[in-house]
Subunit: 249 residues, 2 copies
């Protein structure tokens, strides 16, 4: 079946954050990322592809969600500057499906604003088997195309949701430790780290917000070389070093 005008309109709406919120869906572009999406548990609503992609993926062209799209039409709606073959629409994960269990190691993103950093953090969390990611409402939208690209599809594999972090941390105070990187923290290389924990990663320039700092039960610090004049680490880098330490558990 050919793609309809209404579907093209939907895809265009989903390029923006408020469109994704309104329709509770997001778009995925490009052969590699759509493959990752198909392999994931995400609920796919539409796959719009050129004849070329269809010929190489005949098992998908028979599905009721498949739509054919001309190269010209796809070029017009695509975020990609170079030639693209396929674009898919998937449902956003439902918040009610998300719950934190006793043994979960949960990554908490306190206002990560750079889409590249966010995608890289999700990719690294996926590598280290992090079970869940929780983001403050001010964190960048994980379903924007830059984040999807830099996550290399990991965003399809880790449950992630946006919420009020203070309420969330308070609700799990009895069962979960709260680790956060502060200048006053203890050397992470010498600390026994525990599962059933939240790991807080702060904003790129402001760090962890004061009201979240108050809820940290174990402040940590990544020690720098005594010769170094560097002021800080990139947020995604700090996150990866912390996750690496937790992976030794």
């Amino acid at each position: 079946m050919q793609i309809t005008k209404a579907e093209i309109k939907l895809i265009n709406a989903l390029k923006k954050s408020h469109g994704r919120k309104k329709y509770q869906a997001f778009i995925v572009e490009g052969i590699k990322m759509v493959e990752e999406l198909i392999r994931s548990q995400m609920n796919i609503k539409l796959i719009a592809a050129t004849k070329e992609w269809g010929a190489a993926n005949t098992d998908h062209t028979q599905l009721p969600i498949f739509r054919e799209i001309s190269d010209r039409e796809l070029q017009k709606i695509s975020n990609f500057s170079t030639s693209n073959q396929v674009i898919a629409v998937a449902e956003l994960p439902k918040e009610q499906d998300f719950s934190i269990q006793k043994d979960d190691l949960v990554l908490v993103l306190d206002t990560i604003q750079d889409p590249g950093n966010l995608g890289t953090i999700i990719r690294t969390a996926d590598w280290y088997g992090i079970q869940k990611i929780v983001c403050s409402k001010e964190t960048a939208d994980a379903y924007n195309s830059k984040v999807i690209q830099s996550s290399m599809g990991s965003v399809f594999r880790i449950p992630l949701f946006y919420t009020n972090l203070v309420s969330l941390l308070k609700a799990h105070q009895k069962t979960h430790h709260v680790y956060g990187s502060l200048l006053s923290g203890k050397n992470i290389y010498k600390l026994p780290l525990k599962k059933s924990s939240f790991i807080i990663i702060g904003n790129e320039s402001k760090g962890i917000s004061p009201e979240i700092q108050d809820l940290i039960t174990q402040a940590i610090y990544i020690p720098k070389s005594k010769h170094s004049k560097a002021e800080s680490l990139n947020a995604a880098i700090a996150c990866s070093i912390i996750l690496s330490e937790f992976s030794r558990l």
Copy 2:
């Protein structure tokens, strides 16, 4: 003294990689980065700034390298979209000043192509006190403005040069170990790591090139969670985890 037309022409030429090669110099923009440059050992040839910046930095306006520039003129030559106050020209470090010592822990970049990754790697290397960085000739130009920005000025503090990696590694085979991340490598968390080493970081999509792989004396691997379906880590992230492990020495 007012900036001259020839100096403006030089600044414009230094925006491009071949201009930097030709004049053996590079530009640094913005208050924060120019401050880092001034604090570093780099040889500064020119500081062009608005009246506003001059008023706040009177210790620099008297220097022979200082030039006054109008807001309008600066806006015209700046890479920045928003208002800028200062731009500086510094000499590229000289290759002959660069030598590898017996105890050096040297980071070797085998064709890192993304400027953001390169800057982040340099920033992390600075944090962990890496003494030197060597890049393949195909690695992104470390003195382009995106790299300077994402390095947060660390590029001014670590000696870095471009060379033929195969010749370099062969020349130090007797004194230095060569570590590189390969799928066949040993778990980095369980390996005794040694100083007097080169640490190879490979290209974002192709990894370490075959001729460099042949020179690795200890292949390493960052183990992923048994539940993870992630295919790889971002190059800057892998680098940071490896440097973190070496920092425990």
